[in-house]
C-alpha cells in the first residue's frame, strides 16, 4: 500500500478534531430543548404556565368580601366579576394591606359601559351622560353593587335608545311607544321576564292606515288589496316606516 501523503494526514487530523468538537458541543453545550421537539415544547409550556396571574378571579374576592357577594346576588350586576370595575386584584389578594384595588367613584367610569351607542344591543341600559343628571357622580343615586335605579325609568329610551333614536327621525316620531306596546310595570324591574306586548294583526295598523280611518295625517291603504297575506311589519319597519330615502 502506498503511504498516505503528509498533507492528507494533517487534513484528516483537522477534520477529526472539527467533527469531534462539533459532536461534543452538540452533546454537552447545546441545550436539550434545541434538539428534541418534545422537550422544547414542554419547557416552553412550563415557562408559559409559570407566569403569575394579574387578575385573581371571582372566587378569590369571595373569601373575604362575602357580604358584597350577598348584596350583589339579585342585582343587575350579579354576573359581573369584581375585577371588571375594581381592576386586577391578584396583588391585593396576596397582600391585602399592601395593595388596594382601585375604587372608581368618578363620573367618567360608568359611562364606558352605559353611554348610549347605536351599536350596543337594545335593552342594555344606556344614558346620555351630558343630559342624565350632569356633573353628579353616578354613585350618588346608584349603588354599583346593586345598581337599581332610584326610580323606574319614565322613558323607554333609557334602555331602547337605538329604537327611540330611529323613531325620532321617522314619521312615527310623535307617537308614544305605548300607542303600540302595552308595557306591564314589571318590565321595568325584570325586563326579560315580563315583556311588553306587540301588535298582532293587520287591523292594528289599520286603525290609522285603513281607508276611511279618522287619523288625518296617516297615509291610507286598502287593507283588502294592499299587501295580501303579509303582515304590515313584514315589509314596513314600524320604528322607521318607509325608511329615509
Amino acid at each position: 500500500m502506498k503511504k498516505l501523503p503528509e498533507q492528507v494526514k494533517r487534513l484528516a487530523a483537522v477534520f477529526v478534531i472539527f467533527l469531534s468538537s462539533v459532536l461534543l458541543i452538540r452533546a454537552y453545550a447545546v441545550p436539550a430543548a434545541l434538539k428534541d421537539t418534545d422537550i422544547h415544547r414542554r419547557t416552553a409550556v412550563e415557562r408559559e404556565t409559570a407566569r403569575r396571574p394579574v387578575y385573581a378571579g371571582y372566587t378569590a374576592c369571595r373569601d373575604c368580601h362575602d357580604d358584597v357577594f350577598t348584596s350583589r346576588k339579585k342585582g343587575y350586576h350579579r354576573n359581573l366579576s369584581c375585577e371588571t370595575c375594581h381592576g386586577p386584584g391578584q396583588k391585593h389578594a396576596d397582600d391585602p394591606e399592601a395593595t388596594k384595588p382601585i375604587v372608581p367613584r368618578e363620573r367618567s367610569f360608568c359611562p364606558v359601559c352605559h353611554t348610549y351607542d347605536p351599536s350596543r344591543p337594545t335593552g342594555f341600559p344606556q344614558v346620555n351622560p351630558s343630559t342624565h343628571n350632569p356633573l353628579k357622580p353616578c354613585i350618588t343615586c346608584h349603588n354599583p353593587h346593586n345598581p337599581e335605579p332610584p326610580e323606574a325609568p319614565h322613558e323607554c329610551s333609557a334602555c331602547h335608545g337605538e329604537i327611540a333614536g330611529m323613531k325620532g327621525l321617522s314619521s312615527h316620531a310623535l307617537l308614544d311607544c305605548t300607542v303600540c306596546h302595552t308595557t306591564p310595570e314589571g318590565h321595568k324591574l325584570t325586563p326579560r321576564a315580563v315583556m311588553p306586548s306587540k301588535p298582532e294583526d293587520r287591523e292594528f295598523c289599520g286603525r290609522c292606515h285603513r281607508k276611511g280611518a279618522e287619523e288625518k295625517d296617516a297615509p291610507k291603504v286598502d287593507l283588502a288589496t294592499h299587501g295580501e297575506k303579509y303582515l304590515c311589519w313584514q315589509c314596513h319597519y314600524p320604528h322607521l316606516p318607509e325608511g329615509m330615502k
Binding site: H40, R47, P53, H77, S81, V112, C113, R120
Partner: protein, 248 residues
C-alpha cells in the same frame, strides 16, 4: 471478576438502575393528576348580541399579558360593524376602550344595523401560523392552544403574514411574535382568561370541548354557530353566535 461475581453484580445493578427511573415516573404521574393537558381542548364562544363594545376585555388582556399600551398592539380587540342599506354598504373599524365614536349618520344610505365583534386568536386546530414558522417556535399544545416560544422565535414575521385573522403582532420590546394564549397560565390553574373574567355583558364564554357539562357546551347547544373564514379549513376553536355573514 469471575462469571458468578459478574452475574451477582448484574442482578443487583439492574433494579438499582431502575429505581431513579421509577421515581421519575411516579413524579410525572403526580404532575399528571394535577393537570393533564390531554383531558382538555379549550375553546371560546362569543355572543355578538351581548357585546356592548366597552373594551374592558382589551384593557384586561393588556394588563394580564404585558401587551404594550400603544393602541395598535392587541391580543384581543373589538371591531364595530355598520351595515348600510344598498349593496356593499359595510364599514368596519376598531374601537378604543372608553372612547366610542358612533358611526357617522346620514350619507347616501341609511344604517340597517350596527354591532360589535370581539376578536382574538382563533386557536385553530389546523393553524397556518404553525406551518410557516421556520424555526418551530410556535406550536399547538395538547389542550388545543397555539403558543409562541419567545426564546426560540427569531422575529421573522412569517406567522404574522400567515394568520388569516390578523391575530398576531410583533412585540416591540422582545421583537418576537406575540398572540393570544387563551391566558394559558390562568387556564391551567382553573381560572378564566382575563377577557372572559372581566366581560361585564357575558359576551364571552370560555370552556372545554372535551367536557360534558360546562358553559361552552351550553353555548354550543343553545346557539346557531358560525366561525370566521370557514373556507380556509383552519378549524377555529372560537365560535360566534348570531354572527352576520358580513363579518370576516
Amino acid at each position: 471478576m469471575n462469571r458468578r461475581k459478574f452475574l451477582k453484580a448484574a442482578a443487583l445493578a439492574v433494579p438499582a438502575a431502575a429505581v431513579p427511573g421509577l421515581a421519575q415516573k411516579a413524579l410525572a404521574a403526580a404532575a399528571v393528576t394535577a393537570y393533564d393537558p390531554t383531558k382538555h381542548l379549550y375553546g371560546m364562544g362569543i355572543e355578538i348580541n351581548k357585546c356592548i363594545g366597552c373594551g374592558r376585555c382589551m384593557e384586561a388582556c393588556k394588563a394580564e399579558n404585558n401587551v404594550p399600551k400603544e393602541p395598535f398592539f392587541f391580543r384581543t380587540w373589538v371591531e364595530r360593524y355598520t351595515l348600510k342599506n344598498g349593496h356593499g354598504g359595510l364599514a368596519v373599524e376598531g374601537i378604543k376602550p372608553g372612547e366610542l365614536k358612533p358611526p357617522a349618520a346620514g350619507g347616501e344610505h341609511h344604517t340597517l344595523k350596527s354591532f360589535f365583534v370581539p376578536k382574538l386568536c382563533n386557536q385553530c386546530q389546523r393553524p397556518p401560523c404553525v406551518q410557516v414558522c421556520p424555526v418551530g417556535a410556535t406550536f399547538s399544545t395538547e389542550d388545543g392552544v397555539v403558543l409562541v416560544d419567545s426564546e426560540r422565535c427569531i422575529g421573522c414575521r412569517y406567522c404574522i403574514q400567515a394568520c388569516p385573522y390578523g391575530a398576531r403582532y410583533l412585540h416591540p420590546v422582545t421583537s418576537t411574535a406575540d398572540k393570544c394564549t387563551f391566558c394559558y397560565h390562568r387556564v391551567v390553574k382553573g381560572l378564566l382568561p382575563a377577557c372572559v373574567e372581566v366581560c361585564p355583558a357575558q359576551a364571552r364564554v370560555f370552556g372545554d370541548f372535551k367536557s360534558k357539562a360546562d358553559p361552552l357546551v351550553r353555548f354550543r347547544r343553545m346557539h346557531m354557530l358560525h366561525i370566521l373564514k370557514p373556507h380556509l379549513n383552519t378549524e377555529p376553536k372560537v365560535l360566534y353566535a348570531d354572527l352576520d355573514g358580513e363579518v370576516r
